[in-house]
Assembly symmetry: C2
Homo-oligomer: 496 residues x 2
């Protein structure tokens, strides 16, 4: 593939000057339109050591408004923490709507570096990496991101020439011995590179190979490709959202709705030893928290449930004896303006816990398939796609060593009414109940359907849902603590 | 996941009768509209042994017009030949536009049967199968197919009860001992099944679990789900195709076009020993043909090239000494009406060679990214997606043991003119040259761009392109035969 590329292509000075001038003007204008249209853009520069990535990036940003873009250097330290999921730093760094991120190296780095891995383990690792990359890129593109991927290509002898010239240069372009000798590995890297490029070259995020022997040629190509991609995207018609289906009869509606919740036994009550068991559980949870810290295992505990189902109370009991340095409670509301300008999963990647820490989410990324679905805040296409996107995200967390668990707190409609009324009657609780709660309650059936589908489509062995019978608050709290403990201890390999 | 499903759901007789009547009428009407709209539909019935797939399928087809659907039983023998690519029988059996195929078991069978595989080898095999399935389904959905996937779920004790009842039945529902004892493996199959369902549950082809303890409930659910899916699809707005980009300047156009062909040395000529070498090559090719047959390896040889580049002559020399029972030459023209009513890759799956045989394609599936692209016979989205779809198909062929190679016959514009003129001047060759050839020639530059991109995006180690310098016919013929031989012999493990 790469050997077939004609690297002898050149451009004369005059042609080059004229082109760069015209392209620069066009890019400036396109960037303005891109910002206006709110399109987030990611431009990836990959290429051989010494192929001139830095110089080409500079040519690209020259005509751009610096308020609209950001250069992201993907250094070793950027990707360093092995206890974070592989895509974590990249998810965090995606640009908001209307902005452009330009990557000097990228999420492809770790895949390409697998050329060092031994044959057997290498192939499995490679498949995993490629799948992560494809999933990442597909989610971004589905979420409205424009991806432009450039690979700067030079052949081995050109690379050798350039790096040897650098060796005698004092600054060495800030390169170490290994980089300066990179040409020695050219033939080993080549097939890995070709596989990576081929397996991630998709219609929605294609690769462009830039012939980089001639600097002028490369510049004009980079500018042209970026301009064309922006133009294409700006000319794209908005895709209409799919109309919702004809309403079915009540019976058909009932029949096609999955049911999980109907089996939940809401009459469950704790036995008399509540207090004793609670304090014993809390002590054990504190011990588990230290074990997590020692083993550098991150834990994600997610809470969803009906309004007034008692999420707050459960979280309070769960954390009561925990070391505050080891956990964080993340209350999740409607996204703020800045969050809204990113992919909907972005803010949850931000809050992913450090290795050894616990993140407790009070409401979660499942808002996409609950409130956003029911209230029509996203299109059917978007929430339908969210199930596998969320499963993918949780799988990546799990694969990186995280312990992930999710609680659905179930109460019935009568119990909710009792709690709403009691809140309204109790002055110190009155703030807890709003008009919105009553409005949500009217949509109980729609929410129930969404909950059922969520429980069904996102129950996975790597991130299971525990359904908590929560008509009795005490029972619910005990069950939550017991579950956190048993899942945590199992993942840590038994009690310590 | 599956254990969470409430299997106690039931339906009363009256409700059932009323519903089935209404749904039946609606399905009949929907089927009529689906045929009119030319939508191809695939309904998959998977489920536990004894869950009642046959009975439910019968309920579904009752209200349908028999001219519009076809039931496909996926038996052992349907999937049997291990020398065909795994998805081959399923690709062949996809329905044409406006028709419905109803599958009793499906392409999921082989994945689910991996529960028998030992742990270590199992996981790698599973990943491969799941990826094949996802690729198959995504290509179909992208190509306009509607997929409806139903899983009939019963629990272990229900399965045991049903199968034991069958044991005393004389017909046994045509089941063997193994099927009748299937419940003994229930707990081993369950986690595999859950993985398969989870990893193939996508927004574009979601799974529906049908609670199948109560036959009436299951029927109403099946009919409702199929009706709803058809309705959804018929209500879907047509997605506008993306506008093409603003035309770039000539220089930018040139710069962004990949070049492979410019490096081709068209002055190459064979040396004097042409005749001798040709007959030696032909003898060796015949020997290779037998080796392929003995080893049951299929071989695919694909020819593309400019009009009058000499594909026919090369194919003639290649096959001159071959055993006609071992190969087939498949001339590919514009698809006929029936082919046009299928996915564009369908007809090429039809022609995939039997194990041990050679299929020689005179023009190929690359028409999608050549003539269909240049002549606007498909949308930009479609031909852009085709590169990875074609790579996927060729990879599946390769993985199943096929030897796949592709030839691009390159001549320059002057040489083509000479050949066109000579054809017009020679009475016995005049039929070979048409108005269309002249029209295509006017679009040389557009075709060249398409060829460059094709060569670049579909050169893979598992199905490489050989670019043949074909200004000299003799040189081209020798190079083709040499290449077929060296690639064939290498794949067969050296000369035999």
């Amino acid at each position: 593939m790469l050997e077939k590329v004609d690297l002898s292509r050149k451009l004369g000075k005059d042609e080059y000057r004229q082109s760069v001038k015209e392209l620069g003007a066009r890019l400036g204008e396109l960037q303005r339109r891109q910002r206006e249209a709110g399109i987030p853009v990611m431009v990836v520069f990959e290429g051989w050591e010494g192929s001139g990535k830095g110089a080409q990036m500079n040519q690209l940003i020259l005509p751009l408004d610096p308020r609209g873009f950001r250069v992201q250097n993907i250094t070793d330290s950027f990707m360093s923490d092995p206890f974070y999921p592989a895509m974590y730093p990249f998810w965090r760094a995606i640009p908001p709507a209307g902005r452009m991120s330009i990557y000097n190296r990228s999420w492809y780095r770790k895949a390409i570096e697998l050329w060092r891995a031994p044959e057997e383990s290498g192939q499995g690792e490679m498949e995993k990496k490629l799948e992560e990359i494809r999933s990442f890129e597909r989610q971004l593109v589905d979420g409205g991101y424009l991806l432009i991927k450039l690979f700067l290509h030079i052949d081995r002898s050109e690379q050798k020439k350039r790096l040897q010239r650098l060796k005698s240069d004092e600054t060495k372009g800030a390169r170490g011995q290994e980089e300066l000798n990179a040409y020695k590995n050219y033939d080993d890297i080549l097939p890995v590179l070709e596989e990576v490029i081929r397996e991630t070259d998709r219609a929605h995020s294609p690769w462009t190979i830039v012939e980089a022997h001639d600097r002028r040629f490369a510049t004009v190509k980079v500018l042209s490709v970026v301009a064309r991609a922006l133009e294409n995207r700006l000319n794209q018609p908005k895709i209409e959202t799919v109309k919702e289906p004809v309403v079915l009869s009540e019976l058909e509606e009932a029949v096609t709705t999955p049911t999980v919740l109907s089996k939940v036994d809401l009459s469950l009550e704790p036995d008399d030893s509540y207090k004793k068991e609670m304090s014993s559980l809390q002590r054990r949870i504190r011990r588990m928290e230290y074990a997590l810290y020692r083993d550098r295992r991150p834990m994600v505990v997610a809470f969803e449930g009906w309004d007034a189902a008692g999420k707050g109370g459960c979280i309070k009991r769960l954390t009561q004896e925990m070391d505050p340095r080891g956990y964080e409670v993340i209350p999740v509301g409607a996204p703020n303006d800045f969050e809204r300008r990113h992919h909907y999963l972005w803010r949850f990647w931000q809050d992913f816990p450090k290795a050894g820490h616990v993140a407790i989410f009070d409401r979660t990324w499942y808002g996409r398939v609950l409130v956003e679905r029911v209230e029509g805040l996203c299109s059917p296409l978007e929430w339908k796609r969210a199930y596998s996107e969320i499963n993918d995200m949780e799988k990546q967390w799990h694969v990186s060593g995280a312990i992930v668990m999710k609680f659905w707190l179930q109460i019935d409609k009568d119990e909710q009414l009792r709690r709403f009324q009691s809140r309204e009657e109790t002055p110190e609780k009155k703030w807890k109940i709003t008009e919105e709660d009553w409005r949500n309650r009217e949509k109980w059936d729609l929410y129930e359907k969404a909950v059922e589908e969520m429980l069904w489509r996102t129950s996975t062995p790597y991130a299971p849902w525990a359904i908590v019978e929560a008509n009795s608050k005490d029972y619910a709290r005990l069950k939550v603590l017991r579950t956190v403990l048993s899942m945590g201890e199992e993942a840590l390999g038994g009690v310590r």
